[in-house]
């Protein structure tokens, strides 16, 4: 059993470390499109937003942590909405007012949000600090940082200011669509898993893996920040 647990933890950690280099990667075709485009392009930006969310696994890991112990669809909707409100605010304001924050630092905070959620799911706050943070507020605050991360990435492309608002709204709606599709699969997998004993046995391991993945991503981003 111990061997199995060690194997799974090591596998997940290595997987995260191996793919770290590709976090938030924007492929060449998208890059060329963003640089060439002028004027409003609602649908293409919607597509780019959705794609960014589906492939942006740091956002997804955080959301996995958020919904891991949520059983009621109403609660899932509430928490995901808090996250959506948070990242929509900073994504729109960040790009419209050209807020520049170091991309590595923002990504390190996003990684920290994964650590936070894993630690919280393990009951760490109650056990070690004897208090429980308001999770809805925490998700909203981390949502603000995730949005700032998206805004920072978008601004790197220096694309045309013509039709900016339309494009940003398209991108934001795309992010929501991507999030919806990804969460749908995560929810199905977790819901099926909950029917088996292994969910209880491995829930702690999964959240420890979330913490390890979060720390690994954070170290990678901080390394980038100090080497930049």
């Amino acid at each position: 059993m111990k061997k199995k647990i060690t194997f799974i933890t090591t596998f997940i950690t290595l997987l995260c470390l191996c793919t770290t280099a590709f976090a938030h990667g924007v492929d060449d075709k998208t890059r060329i499109f963003l640089m060439d485009n002028s004027g409003s392009a609602f649908i293409p930006f919607l597509y780019i937003g959705a794609k960014h969310m589906i492939t942006g696994y740091d956002h997804l890991l955080f959301l996995v942590g958020v919904i891991f112990f949520l059983y009621k669809p109403k609660d899932i909707l509430l928490y995901v909405s808090m996250f959506t409100i948070g990242h929509s605010i900073t994504l729109l304001l960040g790009v419209l007012f050209s807020l520049h924050v170091n991309a590595y630092l923002i990504d390190a905070i996003i990684a920290l949000s994964i650590v936070y959620k894993g630690f919280d799911n393990l009951g760490g706050f109650q056990k070690y600090f004897k208090f429980q943070p308001n999770n809805k507020i925490a998700v909203l605050i981390f949502g603000l940082f995730h949005g700032l991360g998206l805004a920072t990435k978008l601004q790197e492309f220096n694309f045309s200011k013509e039709g900016l608002l339309t494009n940003l709204i398209g991108f934001n709606i795309g992010v929501e669509i991507g999030q919806f599709i990804a969460l749908l699969y995560v929810l199905i997998i977790i819901s099926i898993w909950r029917k088996y004993k292994s969910f209880t046995q491995f829930s702690a391991i999964t959240n420890i893996a979330l913490i390890i993945a979060g720390f690994a991503l954070m170290i990678f981003q901080l390394k980038g920040f100090f080497n930049a």
Binding site: I32, I43, Y47, Y71, N135, I181, Y185, I188, S191, I192
Partner: protein, 78 residues
């Protein structure tokens, strides 16, 4: 485990409904958005109508543009 309250999992019916929704959504996304935008293959004709095909660029064209950008950057650095 902190966050949560009721431990009632989704019923089998709800999971089946969610799976059907997920599969239909994925098929629609792949055929209407992904294939036209990524590979220029618009089997339904909706990719062009809706605008996803605007994202498609030929591989050679992308390579040329990338080379142009790289040489611009090199010139600036020199």
């Amino acid at each position: 485990m902190s966050t949560n309250n009721s431990t009632k999992n989704l019923s089998n019916n709800q999971i089946i409904k969610l799976t059907i929704i997920a599969i239909i959504t994925t098929i629609l996304v792949v055929f209407i958005a992904y294939l036209p935008a990524r590979y220029g293959k618009d089997y339904t004709g909706l990719g062009k109508k809706i605008g996803f095909s605007r994202l498609y660029q030929d591989h050679n064209e992308v390579d040329k543009k990338l080379k142009a950008i790289q040489s611009d950057t090199t010139n600036i650095n020199h």
